[in-house]
């Protein structure tokens, strides 16, 4: 149960830094656990944040993740200076991936990232400009009506 607190945080993400891939989202998870948020909501937030973080690390030279937690919801924004997404609708299809082979050999790039984010969040906004970057924002509601 959420005890009604607030929190916010910010992380810089470095492209191809696989040694630290997932640090931002696991910290977000730890913060939510400390705040006593419902376990299922924590799982959804952690999975969505992780996938967004991985996308930056796999495809972009650099990016950042910012989160804001209020008693009502968790909002996470991820922005990067990467290659951008040509066709967002296509990218949302399960199994569609633009990952190069060496990425697949590392266990990533199976095309489930964006679909996983969509599945686990209540609101999702993606905007992207090819060769400039991508901005992704998602919201998970905490308070149930």
């Amino acid at each position: 149960m959420n005890r009604g607190g607030t929190a916010e945080g910010f992380f810089l993400l470095t492209g191809k830094d696989f040694a630290h891939a997932g640090v931002a989202s696991t910290e977000l998870k730890a913060v939510l656990e400390k705040m006593g948020v419902n376990h299922n909501i924590i799982r959804r937030a952690a999975i969505a944040a992780f996938e967004a973080e991985m996308n930056v690390i796999i495809y972009a030279p650099a990016g950042m993740m910012r989160y804001e937690i209020t008693p009502d919801c968790i909002k996470v924004t991820v922005e990067d200076a990467g290659p951008g997404i040509e066709d967002i609708e296509l990218a949302m299809k399960e199994g569609y991936s633009t990952a190069p082979d060496y990425i697949r050999e590392m266990g990533f790039g199976s095309g489930m990232g964006l679909p996983n984010i969509k599945k686990n969040t209540d609101e999702l906004k993606i905007s992207s400009i090819p060769d400039v970057g991508t901005s992704l924002e998602f919201v998970i509601n905490i308070k149930k009506e």
């Binding site: 696989f18 040694a19 997932g22 998870k29 952690a46 992780f50 996938e51 990533f108 199976s110 489930m112």
Partner: protein, 118 residues
Amino acid sequence: MTLNEIKDIIQAEVLTCNSDMNMAVDKGCSSDLMSDVLAFSKPGALLITGLINETVIRTAEVANVKAIIFVRGKRPNSKAVTLAEEKKIPLLATNLPMFEACGRLYERGLRGSPNNVK
């Protein structure tokens, strides 16, 4: 099934210290792809994988995986082991190929995500 029993069934060695080998798991998930672990695994599962980078440990934490078995004779580096010890995720390793490891565990009663079976 406890980790001790699993260790014997698949001839595994334990990589993490202070692991609770009496820990019970009731579901197994095998994959070499992290996003699929996140998409399909249920919390509390045993992850069976051939991927040995540190991101596997963080994926496991996000997915609430209880323990990880590395197959095909693969061993993660010491940083990954330390990370797993911090997160209290037991790591085991076997030389068996994934097919054998999964087959033997299934034969002894471990099942995949039970709600997914159609």
